[in-house]
């Protein structure tokens, strides 16, 4: 897709997203608030896994940390929710960076296991600091009301806030991956020895990516604390981390739009699966998953891109009447 088309698409989609409160209210809007939150979390994980090639099975932990930072700030010091979101992002950036340093020694599956242990440990550690975290009972919060006398419901306000944060985070991420830093990240993923030969500080970039990734997921966690108005260790079980991984793979690795599509998948497909069969919802979910992976091996975003490329290719080859572009070009996964 060329740049102009993607800008137009982005503006149309965002304008549509902002108009959602006109068509729906309450519960439906709440679901789309969650889609936005998941999309940010997936963007974070995608920066790490899709763009930088590091695996994480523990992003639920950063999500939890972000949520608890926000909840504790609101609960203990009555700080407005708006301020807790950037603080959660910055603190998760630091935690992610520090975790990323030692994790540098681990590659691929070993890193996945190390992060998995993080996902296992965090819910238990949260119970340990009961004075702050409320233990296994968690922290009950109050849902923010719309300010400035706006005549909109809490849900509508929350959705607009979440959507705005999502848009900002996505614009930042889209710029990041196209920048010098982004190219370095991708270079490390594709061949870290070659990248280092080119003068890329692999260790630094990998830890930084881990930090930024954790920051995104932490911001998502903080938003979820505000939206759900409750945090508890049970909200952040191991399955959440797996869900995030499912989201980026289904949506499309190393794709910005893929995160939105993946977020919709992890939000809505489990519900559909439940509507189809109460007895075995996860079996149905598994079938969906296998079906998607079979039909769209590069995720939804990858499939759309391939469709687009194949159309362009056929148009070009018709025009030139000559040889079609090499099949490899049409097959390449989305970038």
């Amino acid at each position: 897709m060329n740049r102009r088309a993607s800008v137009i698409l982005a503006v149309v989609v965002i304008a549509f997203a902002y108009s959602l409160p006109i068509y729906m209210s309450g519960f439906r809007l709440f679901q789309f608030t969650q889609v936005c939150i998941y999309a940010i979390a997936l963007m974070g994980l995608n920066l790490l896994t899709g763009y930088n090639g590091q695996f994480s099975l523990g992003h639920g932990a950063f999500y939890a940390i972000g949520a608890y930072i926000s909840a504790i700030m609101m609960d203990q010091w009555a700080i407005a929710y708006g301020w807790t979101i950037p603080v959660a992002g910055v603190l998760c950036l630091i935690v992610g960076f520090l975790f990323g340093r030692p994790a540098l020694r681990l590659e691929g599956l070993y890193l996945a296991l190390a992060t998995f242990s993080l996902a296992l440990a965090v819910p238990q550690i949260l119970k340990y600091f009961e004075h702050w975290t409320g233990g296994s009972q968690g922290i009950v919060l109050t849902k923010p009301k719309a300010p400035w006398g706006l005549k909109i419901t809490e849900d509508q306000w929350l959705y607009l806030v979440t959507l705005t944060v999502t848009v900002v985070m996505f614009v930042l991420a889209a710029n990041l991956v196209r920048s010098r830093v982004g190219r370095a990240m991708v270079a490390i993923r594709d061949n870290h020895i070659a990248a280092e030969t080119m003068g890329v500080d692999s260790a630094l970039y990998k830890s930084l990516t881990f930090g930024v990734s954790a920051a995104y997921t932490g911001v998502a966690g903080a938003l979820s604390a505000v939206a759900i108005a409750y945090v508890a260790p049970d909200s952040f079980n191991v399955f959440l981390s797996v869900t995030f991984l499912i989201g980026i793979v289904i949506g499309g690795l190393a794709s910005v739009w893929g995160n939105v599509l993946g977020a919709m998948f992890i939000q809505f497909v489990p519900n559909w699966a439940q509507d189809i069969s109460k007895a075995a919802p996860w079996a149905i979910f598994g079938i969906f998953l296998i079906g998607f992976m079979y039909v769209m091996p590069y995720g939804i975003a990858g499939a759309i891109k391939r469709l687009w490329i194949s159309q362009v290719v056929s148009r070009v080859s018709q025009k030139q009447g000559g040889e079609p572009l090499s099949s490899q070009q049409a097959e390449s996964p989305s970038r």
Partner: protein, 405 residues
């Protein structure tokens, strides 16, 4: 730079959209038609607590039986139950779906303390009856602040009071040692005990020891309690630690009168692993007929339940106490709907739920009655003590009523 232009364009789009947002229409909710009453529920059909999912299934099966027999006042019960995976965010989403999209008349038997905590405020703001929640926490009985929420089973504080009352009556020279889990659950029990002992609490309790759920053992706490000279031991532990505590006390020859909380009263998961000989003489408090206890095999409540299970929920496990629990609570819900008559407004549903007088459930212990009032949202407040004879729990003494002596 193209990147900057893109940023500007996207942000412009965002602001444009923000201006478009406007208010949504208000809605009125009933959930009742001439032929149907909608009840909403969430249960952990998947996830860490999925063993409890059978409660939702047995409730659905019981409502099917009621519907087959003509429903309640001519209306069929439409029981809508969703999976919340024991996850608070999922519970919020599903309960909001029940209230806002499915427009249920009442939410009933949502399971789990964290999940119910997550929906507690919302559901009271929406003024939807939130009946007979499946958790032992004490906070569900707070009609002043949460008039739409009501518990079901005896809560931990009630149980603590039951033991306290027994100790006050029978052990004037008690020196009480307490082991408790350092969280809400443990503290709830502890509070019940201390409140029950009243002014004497500080004199009677000679030592309190706590443990964290993450600790490997409670051995040192048991040794400390023995050394304190305590002759009464109140053991507030979950099964894993209950086994350790019973074993250790036995190993070091400490023989206090040992009160074990109901949470760990299971034969299969606690008493057998701890050793039946070592468990002899343990005292706990019960409120339901244990379905595996042979003493109920001829009991009408029990045989009715078995007949129901075989017909409507044949895949359900007859050894699983949860199936008895779900049966009991479904019967109570039907009773509330019957009492409502033709006025099934949400106001009347909660009013009738808070107006249960000496109602008897088939699988409660004999003599126990359900009582609620506008200031009492704890339906079951009675328990009976039982002593372990090396084989099974043997009920003894009278039924304790923690709040109505």
């Amino acid at each position: 730079m193209i990147g900057r232009k893109l940023t500007a364009a996207v942000l412009a789009g965002a602001l444009l959209g923000l201006g478009l947002a406007s208010a949504a229409p208000a809605q009125t909710v009933v959930g009742v038609t001439a032929t149907e009453i909608k009840l909403g529920n969430t249960n952990p059909y998947s996830g860490p607590a999925s063993a409890y999912g059978t409660i939702g299934k047995v409730i659905g099966a019981y409502f099917k039986k009621v519907n087959d027999e003509g429903g309640v006042n001519g209306r069929k019960i439409n029981f809508i139950s969703y999976d919340d995976s024991y996850s608070p965010p999922k519970a919020v989403e599903m309960v909001r779906k029940l209230v806002e999209q499915d427009q249920v008349a009442a939410v009933f038997q949502t399971l789990g303390t964290p999940t119910n905590t997550a929906i507690h405020k919302y559901i009271n703001q929406q003024k939807v009856p939130h009946l007979f929640v499946a958790t032992g926490a004490t906070k569900w009985n707070d009609p002043k602040n949460f008039p739409w929420t009501m518990g079901f089973q005896p809560n931990y504080q009630t149980e603590g009071r039951v033991y306290a009352s027994h100790i006050l009556k029978n052990f004037p020279d008690a020196k009480i040692g307490i082991l408790y889990q350092n969280d809400d659950y443990g503290k709830d029990y502890l509070k019940g005990m201390e409140d029950g002992l009243g002014a004497n609490a500080s004199k009677l309790i000679v030592m309190k020891q706590s443990y964290e759920v993450t600790d490997p053992t409670v051995d040192s706490q048991i040794i400390n309690l023995k050394n304190s000279g305590a002759n009464v031991f109140f053991n507030i532990t979950i099964p894993k630690f209950a086994v350790q505590a019973i074993k250790k006390a036995n190993d070091i020859g400490w023989k206090p009168t040992h009160f074990l909380n109901n949470v760990s009263s299971s034969l299969a998961t606690v008493l057998k692993p701890a050793g039946l000989e070592a468990s002899k003489g343990l005292i706990t408090a019960l409120y339901m007929k244990e379905v595996t206890d042979p003493q109920w095999s001829k009991d009408k409540g029990f045989t009715d339940w078995v007949a129901f299970m075989k017909k409507y929920y044949p895949e359900g496990n007859l050894d699983d106490q949860s199936n008895a629990y779900g049966y009991n609570v479904a019967i109570l819900m039907v009773q509330v709907l019957k009492q409502c008559g033709n006025d099934l407004s949400r106001e009347n549903i909660i009013k009738q739920a808070a107006n249960l007088k000496d109602y008897d459930l088939p699988l409660l212990l004999p003599g126990m009655k359900i009582n609620t009032s506008p200031t009492d949202h704890a339906p079951i407040e009675q328990e009976q003590l039982a002593k372990f004879d090396g084989e099974r729990w043997v009920l003894f003494g009278e039924i304790f009523d923690a709040f109505r002596k």
